[in-house]
Structures are given as structure tokens and as C-alpha cells.
Symmetry: C2
Subunit: 206 residues, 2 copies
């Protein structure tokens, strides 16, 4: 069960989202072909992806929407809540804080940090914006699992080093800069500039 491709995991997320939609639509059973169609992939890919984790379907029938949904939630580690901190209370931080989809999947933002005195002390839905000086102590005190980096590029690596030293092992980075973390720490990057440049590349060659 080791060694699963990142692309497989990303697709599982997509499947899960499609299953949630099917559930809302009242559909109770789905074939790999139907799920693939909604997820933008192929039936064989769906079956292969799932086969890494077990066997969830019934031959001749397909998959139970609710069962598969629940299995995927377990596989993706969504069977618990995750304690999240947000570093950077600027526009991007505010947008992320608001992004309710996180909460729905069990990601709870338990702490917010910023350096701007005008923001420190504000209450966001009951969560106080704290100064960066309290970073390590709050991360440990609140037992934070995952930190979201939403600070300027120049400050990001410094924040990451402190976050890692405070024992956090999952980081989602929105700063447009390549960060380094020690082995054992999981780092994901969301870089809009890379995506935009992917678009301009594709559009330019025609």
C-alpha cells in the first residue's frame, strides 16, 4: 500500500467531490465509467486508482456512492479534524480564511498570525490575530497540524523555518517562491504565476 503517485491522490480528491455531488443528487450507485466521465478521466484510471487501496465495487453493479465516499474520506485522512494555522492576514489570508470548503472537509483554522499592528488583536470569527512573535508558542499550544503560508515571498522561508522548528509537518504555501523543508515535512505549493504562465505558453504557440 506504499508508494502512491501524487497524481493518484489528486484524482481521489476529485472523485470524492464528484461523489458528494452524486449524493446530493440522490444517486446511490455509480460505475467507474460514469465517475470517470464526471471527473474528467477514464474508467480504467478510476479502477486502477482505487485498486491501490482495496476493492470497493461490486462486479456487474458498480460502486455504492455513500460507501465509496466514506472509504475515500478515510484514505485521504479526512476521518478526523485537522488543526490549521494561517500565517499572513492580508488579502490572500482573508480570502483563505473565508474559504468554507476547508471547514467542510475538517480543516479548522485555529490561529491567525500577522505582523501588522493594525491587524493584531482583530477577531476573525472569534479567532484572534496574533503577532508573529507568538508563532512557535501558539503552534505548539494549539497542537497545529498544518500551516498555510500567505506572507510575501521574501518572508516565507523564515516563517517556514520557524514553523518546522515548532514541529509542524504539513505546509501549504501560497507565496510565489521555492521553499525548502527538511525530509519528513510535507510541502505543497499553490502558485498562480506558474499557472498563468502555463496559459500564456499554450496560447502563444498557435
Amino acid at each position: 500500500m506504499r508508494k502512491v503517485a501524487e497524481s493518484t491522490v489528486a484524482r481521489l480528491s476529485v472523485y470524492l467531490r464528484q461523489l458528494a455531488e452524486l449524493e446530493r443528487e440522490g444517486v446511490s450507485t455509480v460505475s467507474s465509467a460514469a465517475l470517470a466521465c464526471r471527473a474528467g478521466t477514464t474508467a480504467a484510471q478510476v479502477r486502477k486508482d482505487l485498486s491501490f487501496f482495496g476493492t470497493f465495487g461490486k462486479r456487474g453493479l458498480g460502486y455504492s456512492v455513500s460507501e465509496l465516499s466514506s472509504e475515500l474520506r478515510t484514505i485521504l485522512g479526512l476521518g478526523r479534524t485537522w488543526r490549521v494555522a494561517l500565517v499572513g492576514a492580508g488579502k490572500i489570508g482573508a480570502a483563505l480564511y473565508d474559504y468554507q470548503d476547508f471547514r467542510r472537509q475538517g480543516f479548522y483554522i485555529r490561529a491567525v498570525f500577522d505582523n501588522d499592528p493594525a491587524k493584531i488583536g482583530q477577531r476573525w470569527n472569534g479567532v484572534e490575530v496574533r503577532p508573529a512573535s507568538e508563532l512557535e508558542s501558539v503552534l505548539r499550544g494549539e497542537a497545529i497540524d498544518i500551516v498555510i503560508i500567505a506572507v510575501p515571498a521574501s518572508a516565507a522561508q523564515g516563517v517556514v523555518d520557524r514553523v518546522v522548528s515548532a514541529g509542524v509537518r504539513g505546509i501549504l504555501n501560497f507565496a510565489p517562491v521555492r521553499l525548502t523543508v527538511p525530509p519528513g515535512v510535507e510541502l505543497k505549493n499553490v502558485n498562480m504565476a506558474v499557472e498563468m504562465e502555463g496559459l500564456s505558453f499554450a496560447l502563444a504557440r498557435r
Copy 2:
């Protein structure tokens, strides 16, 4: 020169960013090994990526930082300005509008749309927030190349259909939903939920 992997293009963006940094540091020449180290990949990968587009280095020496930088900008289609529209003037839209890195690479937001009467008519840095009803006419009138979707998931596909019918061929989607576009239209997705679930997956299996 056809058929370049998406992953290659994404890395080119990263190289370009590293080269810009090297330029600021006053470095004039860089080896594939040094660039790879900064970009988080291998020397062979750097050379192979570049080899799809030509030969830019000097054997025994490395690459001229400024030359390679300029070549990459051309390859990525950054040798011109791109006219961008933003649909959705909520928190995410506001954060994106503010994201100055876009502008620096030649992506200019020329139009903003929303449905909220409280937002329509606002001026964002001189760009007026317009009602969605004007979508097609403004996209054509302003000769928009790329549209950023920052509306709720439920509204996204409808917006995309209208945007495509108005002749736009590049879309960057921030709504957490799988969109479909006809062939010939380039679609990139930024999905934070997928990234967070990738983190929880990695953290859960230890």
C-alpha cells in the same frame, strides 16, 4: 518543437523566477547544476527541459543568466502583454486583483465583473466593476485573452460557457469544481481543497 509536457512548462516558470533572483544578486552565469539546486530539481532535468526549445548554454561554462531569462520569457509567451478579466469580485477576486506578480509578468487585468449590486460601479484602481450582464460585450470590446474565474462553484460552469462563447481561449479557474471546455480552450485549475487533501493524505499515513 511540438508536444511539451505540462510539467516541463511548469518548471520553466520556476527557472525563470530563479533567474530573476540571480539577476538581482548580480550573478551573470549559472550552470544547470546550480539552477537545478535552486529550482528543486536535477541538472539533467534542467538541460532536458531546455533542449526542447533550443540550445542556450555554452559548454564548459553554463548559461548566461540574462540571455536564458530572456529566452524563457519568449518561450513562455511573456514577450507581450496579456489582457485579463476577473469574474467574481469577492474575497478571492480581490486578493487576485491585488496580486502584483501578475502585472510584473505582463498580465493586465482590464475588466472585473460581479453580480452584487453593492460592488457594481466600484472602481478598483481605475477598473470599474461591471455587472455580469455585460460579460460578452466587454470581453469582446476589450479583446480579453484570459479570464480568471473566482465565482462560487455553482455559478462557474455557466460563466465559463459564456466566456468561451465570447471567444476567450484561456481560463484560470479558482472555483472548486470540475469545468468542461471545448477543445481549443486552455483551462487551468487552482484547487486548494485538492492540495489540502494531499497534505492530509501524506500526514495520515505515518
